[in-house]
């Protein structure tokens, strides 16, 4: 293997990959929590609240995520200096805004698909709104939400590359920095172009993460359909 490969691979895997994984993990958990809450609240019979959540969903699903990233990264600080975030944090917030909108829409559908009788039975047992949803409705709805959650994870891992655009150190940015370093004239770099190998490698890294997950989502989907939930 040529000598340039080892330091490049080390940088991408040990400096870049942790960034990608951290952004993705926080964004998925944040999206799931906020999305399930908003989606459940969407089923409440209070129109202004429903309209407000509907607006949130339509705005953050409608905007290109890159625009949301810029709104968080350069828009918020231009409104107030206290809203300044580093690139990875800004990308994470943007992904949560987008992801929670996706989850909210899916949750609304899943909660509404639980038969009325379940609500009535839970009420008859003395559960209030919170207990009814927390112990009876959501546990059943979550089963239906599992495949969309896995797809969300895949989408968030892939969209975490948007942090690169604002300079956040994740896999793509790590590859890009190494590509520039190698291209630089000696003694700084090698004066060699290895963009094909480096960006090809970045593609492989993402494929290796995503492919098992998309397979898993497909299997879960099938299992769900077989259980009569399709």
């Amino acid at each position: 293997m040529p000598a340039w490969v080892e330091p490049v691979a080390r940088y991408v895997l040990f400096e870049g990959l942790p960034g990608t994984l951290r952004v993705s993990a926080i964004a998925v958990v944040g999206s799931a929590l906020i999305g399930v809450l908003l989606g459940t609240l969407m089923t409440v019979d209070f129109l202004p609240l429903r309209w407000l959540i509907r607006l949130y969903i339509e705005v953050f699903r409608g905007l290109p995520i890159l625009v949301t990233v810029f709104i968080v990264y350069i828009g918020l600080p231009s409104v107030s200096r206290s809203l300044e975030f580093d690139p990875l944090a800004a990308a994470t917030i943007a992904l949560v805004l987008w992801g929670s909108a996706q989850v909210a829409e899916a949750t609304r559908g899943a909660v509404q698909s639980i038969p009325r009788e379940q609500h009535e039975a839970a009420s008859a047992l003395g559960f209030g709104w919170v207990g009814r949803h927390g112990f009876v409705i959501l546990p059943q709805a979550l089963r239906r939400l599992l495949p969309p959650f896995v797809s969300l994870l895949v989408n968030i891992v892939q969209n975490s590359t948007l942090a690169q655009v604002i300079g956040g150190l994740e896999v793509l940015e790590a590859g890009e920095r190494q590509n520039e370093r190698l291209t630089a004239i000696p003694p700084i770099g090698l004066g060699e172009i290895h963009a094909f190998e480096i960006f090809g490698g970045v593609l492989v890294i993402f494929f290796v993460i995503s492919f098992p997950l998309t397979r898993l989502a497909a299997v879960l989907e099938k299992r769900l359909a077989r259980a009569g939930f399709g």
């Binding site: 995520i65 625009v67 480096i198």
Partner: protein, 224 residues
């Protein structure tokens, strides 16, 4: 010192010509990519649904590679990596080509699902009437399956339009690049982002309304 001003109208009227050209470039790239994604999707979706040997397997590989890698990395690969092999595209070409390849992969899945939803007995009826396999596809599977896949394929076209904003990274002067570049000079960040948000939301919401309209008008009579 950034002054706490907000002059949306001033930003738009002063940079009217540039912003309009950016919007036109966004629409132009999207239109080319959507047309391409439609053709790629219909052909490869048909190949998949009819299990045409070799083409069908190659389509699976194409779809899995595109679906499981970030489009931003695909753009970097086409723009920065391919020139190393002597394949050089200008920014405009990379702009429509990358989103077309991306959209084509997703669209072939939409069309495959649509074609596979056409009951086999319809095709049998076509053969019984003496149509060839190809004529049966054109006269039976395409009109019925194509209509079933309209909503999901319009969803893909909306994503194609949104993804053209990623051309910011290669410096192609579509709407996002144009608006952000202006605000880099004038520091009118809020105005620039407002223009982007309002324009993209109008386009996306407009196309979503089109889906609902298409769903009601083009739906198969029996499912209406």
């Amino acid at each position: 010192m950034i002054l706490a001003t907000y002059d949306l109208w001033g930003f738009v009227s002063e940079n009217q010509a540039e912003l309009l050209e950016g919007l036109l470039n966004t629409l132009k790239v999207s239109a080319i990519a959507i047309a391409g994604a439609f053709v790629i999707g219909a052909i490869l979706g048909a190949a998949r649904a009819h299990r045409i040997p070799v083409v069908s397997q190659l389509t699976v590989v194409y779809v899995e590679v595109i679906r499981n890698t970030p489009i931003l990395v695909q753009i970097f690969f086409i723009f920065y990596a391919l020139p190393q092999l002597g394949i050089v595209f200008d920014q405009f070409t990379v702009a429509w080509l990358s989103v077309m390849i991306w959209g084509g992969a997703f669209n072939s899945e939409n069309f495959r699902a649509g074609f596979e939803a056409v009951p086999y007995r319809y095709r049998e009826a076509g053969y019984a009437l003496g149509f060839s396999r190809f004529a049966t596809f054109l006269n039976v599977t395409l009109p019925i399956g194509g209509r079933i896949s309209i909503p999901s394929s319009i969803n893909t076209y909306i994503s194609v339009l949104k993804n053209t904003s990623l051309m910011y990274v290669i410096g192609y002067a579509e709407l996002t690049t144009t608006s952000l570049n202006i605000s880099n000079l004038t520091l009118e960040t809020k105005e620039s982002l407002t223009v982007l948000a309002v324009t993209y939301l109008s386009l996306v919401w407009g196309l979503s309304a089109l889906i609902r309209f298409a769903e009601s008008r083009l739906a198969l009579p029996e499912s209406r």
